[in-house]
């Protein structure tokens, strides 16, 4: 007679006693959840013992369960070490999940509208607990994913795993690389800061260059949602970032991995005869079972990788957030994300259409079809001299082009613009102007000059006094005052003083200023610089940097040198050398907390 009108757990308790009934119930639940392994089986597996019952319960989850149905139940021993896989494929997959989870967290706090996107960022940073941490993880994870997917591709190349029968696996892998790059890039725009706007503007204008013109123009319109990136463009990039590209990525990840399972993990080249593929024929003594060995290994890799990311985001990395996007204000030295620097570098070689569109398309297209071109059967390095040579040439070319893509390379501005930028630029790309991190208490209101550093030790105040008299006499003080007036700084006289002895960082910044003027001495003749510190409000000071110099003659952007080897000064209508003044200014609040980037 049953306790309840139907057979139940209570009957078990009555029949077997409480302890035994509970254990058996729990055991059954575990076996159902794992689709075949009970508690004893799991214990044995984790202890590294052989299974104690037959049929082998560790194969059951592969046969009956959903999550493992796609994973092979055993691997060849030769592919389970660090070499040859470095677990890069597995980590790529993990980063898809990692980015999805952190991305969903950020999605909760984000609205894709230029009106509020930036305010959302500030909110995430200022009012959402762990908000900055999640943003850092998402950003760092995105960069790491690009890196890991690229390394995965290189590994596949070096072990020649793309060769028959795995050509199509490689092809889908190149698509996944492209999707990863685009995912990372489309996320760039979402914070709607200057970095975002201008990086994406560069990218979108490359799309615009796609030939023929009508295609490029319309592609550009479709992507940006208008002639300029605005509300429509932001919404489009957002939808691409969170819907379209992830959907494609999931699909191709499925195809890619299905192909991996169908063909098996390729063995290290030395273990096979040339032209042979034995990945699917694993001898019994070479089998390493997924449960428990591969499973624990994969989980360990996840743990270690995540820990590395968390450590980096705790102490070393914060996702950048620059000033609000402003289409009217093009920052100097805008660069693409590092993984697109090679395209930016190529663009400096010449034609936008060829180097911006045709060249990258050919490069990526070549990568995609490479397995169908390289038909040599051998996977051994000794037999792959051509392929390896081409590979290293491509790596070298990418490195060189990426270097050329840096802001420092190629584009040279006028000396005064360059120096003022170096002194005062807002934080961007891990750089900031030299004056920004000077501690607020060192910014004593006053006027300081680079001439101080030309004086011998102990003679500074005399030199500064002489300088005051000199610029008063030759009228260059008046020119500087007039130019500062244009910038709304009202100054009646320029009376420089020696930098206070306790203002070490201010002195360093001015020393840098003086050194830069020397570095540009051909272009900026007889140049001197000023830094004017004024108080605007309590706790808010204004810093004006001034460069005054004699203009030299230029021809084709180069300084003209006279027969004496000295630059030729530009002479005005009055027969006197033309004096030029250039100024820029910033404001520093005592709580603004600018810190120099490590190593800068």
């Amino acid at each position: 007679m049953s306790v309840l009108p139907f057979p139940s757990f209570l009957d078990d308790v009555k029949e077997k006693g409480f302890k035994k009934a509970v254990f058996e119930g729990a055991n059954e639940v575990v076996e159902r959840l794992t689709a075949g392994m009970n508690i004893q089986d799991i214990r044995e597996a984790l202890r590294g013992e052989a299974p104690s019952r037959k049929p082998n319960p560790r194969l059951q989850p592969h046969a009956d369960g959903f999550w493992l149905h796609m994973r092979p139940s055993y691997f060849h021993k030769s592919v389970t070490g660090i070499y040859p896989e470095f677990r890069l494929g597995w980590l790529s997959t993990y980063f898809v999940v990692f980015e999805t989870i952190t991305g969903i967290f950020l999605m909760v706090w984000y609205t894709p509208s230029p009106e509020v996107a930036y305010a959302n960022m500030i909110n995430i940073m200022a009012s959402v607990p762990l908000g900055q941490f999640m943003r850092d993880l998402h950003r760092l994870g995105a960069e790491a994913m690009v890196l890991i997917v690229t390394l995965h591709m290189l590994r596949t190349f070096f072990t020649a795993s793309y060769k028959k029968p795995r050509q199509f696996t490689w092809f889908t892998g190149v698509i996944l690389l492209g999707l990863t790059l685009f995912l990372s890039f489309s996320g760039y725009l979402l914070p709607w800061d200057q970095l975002a706007l201008w990086a994406v503007t560069i990218g979108a204008s490359m799309v615009e260059a796609a030939p023929p013109e009508i295609v490029g123009q319309n592609l550009n319109l479709l992507l940006r949602g208008g002639p300029e990136i605005g509300a429509n463009g932001l919404l489009r990039f957002y939808l691409l970032h969170v819907l379209a590209v992830p959907a494609l990525l999931f699909i191709f990840t499925g195809v890619h991995y299905y192909k991996v399972v169908v063909h098996g993990h390729s063995l290290p080249p030395r273990e096979e005869n040339i032209g042979e593929d034995t990945a699917k024929r694993v001898p019994l003594d070479k089998r390493v079972y997924f449960i428990p060995d591969i499973l624990t290994s994969e989980i360990m890799w996840i743990g270690v990788t995540t820990l590395i990311l968390v450590v980096l985001c705790t102490w070393f990395f914060h996702a950048p957030l620059e000033a609000h996007a402003d289409p009217q204000d093009t920052p100097l030295g805008t660069t693409a994300p590092w993984y697109f620097l090679w395209v930016q570098g190529a663009l400096k070689l010449g034609d936008k259409v060829f180097w911006g569109i045709i060249f990258p398309t050919i490069a990526l297209g070549f990568l995609a079809v490479m397995p169908y071109l390289d038909l040599t059967p051998s996977r051994r390095w000794a037999h792959r001299r051509t392929a390896l040579t081409v590979c290293f040439l491509m790596i070298s070319a990418t490195t060189v082009l990426s270097y050329m893509g840096l802001a420092e390379f190629g584009v040279r501005l006028a000396g005064d613009t360059e120096i003022l930028h170096e002194m005062m630029m807002p934080p961007a790309h891990n750089h900031m102007g030299k004056l920004l991190p000077v501690p607020f208490d060192q910014l004593t209101p006053g006027i300081y000059t680079t001439r101080q550093f030309e004086a011998e030790a102990g003679q500074e105040s005399a030199a500064v006094a002489a300088f005051n008299q000199e610029i008063l006499d030759n009228g260059r003080a008046q020119l500087a005052i007039a130019q500062l007036g244009v910038d709304h700084l009202e100054l009646s006289a320029i009376n420089t003083s020696v930098i206070p002895s306790d203002a070490e960082d201010l002195e360093k910044a001015l020393h840098f200023f003086a050194d830069r003027l020397v570095a540009y001495e051909h272009e900026l003749q007889d140049a001197w610089g000023l830094v004017v510190v004024t108080e605007v409000q309590p706790g808010l000071r204004r810093l004006d940097a001034v460069i005054v110099w004699h203009q030299v003659e230029f021809e084709n952007g180069r300084v003209v040198f006279g027969s004496d080897g000295e630059p030729v000064l530009l002479v005005g209508e009055d027969g006197q050398p033309v004096t030029r003044v250039s100024t820029d200014h910033i404001f520093i609040h005592e709580d603004a907390q600018y810190f120099a980037a490590p190593g800068s």
Partner: protein
């Protein structure tokens, strides 16, 4: 070696993995308990940088009129760096003490000795108030309107929101009418929301910069003296025009009106009922009350009531009765009406003598004469 130590031995893998996850949890926990401080620091830093950007925008866009120091431009724009904008009351402590003492004085428990003390202190407060007002009197000579006894710009404007919202909305919309009182200078709309050049976040930066001028309780008399231009209080720009010849000057007590003389004068004007209707329904808004019997006698049948009933009661000609009722609303009470002089019917404003010209009064009467409908149960 790494291969042999970790990858080939399951217990090592489990150990490394478990330790990694533990370390992650410890680190995330450590970050989490520090989040309060971090978010606070971020907010401070963000406000500071917002002020810096605001300063940049201010110098480029605002300093030409409001001055680089925010003290205003004489004849061009009012001071923003001023105790008036931030509502600093130089007399606040005196006023507080005075009202406390006055309350104490009225308290029946206060002893006569204490009252003597209080009176002495009140006199001292009055002296101190005069001293401070004298010190500030030079500031009140600065162009514009500043009265230290009505120290809050926002209260004087009847602005119910915060100073931040006042500044931000002013920046967005500008002062569309200011060209009329700033000698040809107009504050234009600065917000892109209102067709101007700046984004809302930039206006917020500007607002933060302007608010950073606040000195709290530390405003000094010198700050008021430094101001170059106070705001101009504009009463009603829309109505500003040539002075109007109203029946009586502003501030006249209706009880003192010479109604007989006014009646005689009105008779010289030919009323225009059309214009009277416009005044009645529109400009003056009489119809707003005179449409519902519970609030005021309805418009319909006004003339009938006056001719049949009211004028007989008061012994006035019907038009005279209307003149009296409009200019001195509390003078007569119709029998049976629950009005008590000086209280309830004061819903009708007693200032029409200073708002109407004779012509307008004649127009109104002409219009009311057209309201000769039957009045049921009169």
């Amino acid at each position: 070696m790494l291969q042999r130590l970790i990858f080939e031995r399951i217990e090592q893998r489990i150990l490394v993995g478990t330790l990694s996850f533990l370390a992650i949890m410890v680190l995330v926990g450590w970050i989490a308990i520090n989040e309060g401080g971090r978010m606070q620091a971020f907010e401070t830093q963000y406000l500071a940088r917002s002020i810096e950007r605001g300063a940049y925008l201010y110098m480029a866009n605002c300093s030409t009129c409001h001055g680089t120091d925010g003290l205003g431009g004489a004849g061009r724009a009012p001071a923003l760096n001023s105790p008036y904008l931030f509502g600093h009351d130089y007399l606040a402590d005196l006023n507080r003490e005075q009202s406390g003492l006055e309350r104490e004085k009225l308290n029946s428990a206060t002893t006569p000795e204490r009252i003597t003390e209080i009176d002495a202190r009140l006199a001292a407060i009055e002296t101190e108030r005069q001293t401070r007002l004298n010190a500030l009197s030079a500031a009140t000579q600065t162009p514009g309107d500043y009265d230290p006894t009505a120290p809050s710009r926002l209260s004087n404007l009847g602005w119910a929101g915060s100073l931040r919202s006042f500044l931000l909305t002013t920046l967005i919309h500008g002062r569309p009418n200011s060209i009329q009182y700033w000698g040809g200078n107009q504050m234009v709309a600065w917000g892109q929301l209102a067709g101007g050049p700046l984004r809302t976040d930039q206006l917020e930066d500007l607002t933060n910069f302007i608010l950073n001028w606040d000195k709290g309780d530390a405003w000094t008399t010198d700050d008021a003296l430094a101001v170059r231009q106070w705001p101009i209080s504009v009463v009603d720009v829309a109505l500003a025009g040539p002075p109007r010849e109203t029946i009586a000057p502003a501030g006249t007590d209706p009880a003192t009106l010479d109604l007989a003389a006014i009646n005689a004068e009105v008779a010289n004007f030919q009323g225009d009922p059309q214009n009277g209707q416009t005044l009645y329904n529109g400009t003056l808004g009489c119809a707003g009350c005179h449409m519902q019997a519970a609030v005021a006698p309805p418009t319909e049948g006004t003339w009938t009531r006056v001719t049949v009933n009211r004028s007989a009661l008061t012994g006035l000609e019907p038009t005279e009765y209307l003149v009296h009722s409009i200019l001195y609303p509390g003078e007569f009470l119709a029998p049976g009406e629950p009005y008590i002089p000086g209280t309830y019917p004061n819903a009708m404003l007693p200032n029409y003598s200073e708002r109407l010209t004779y012509q307008e009064l004649a127009d109104l009467i002409a219009y009311l004469q057209t309201q000769d409908q039957e009045v049921p149960g009169l």
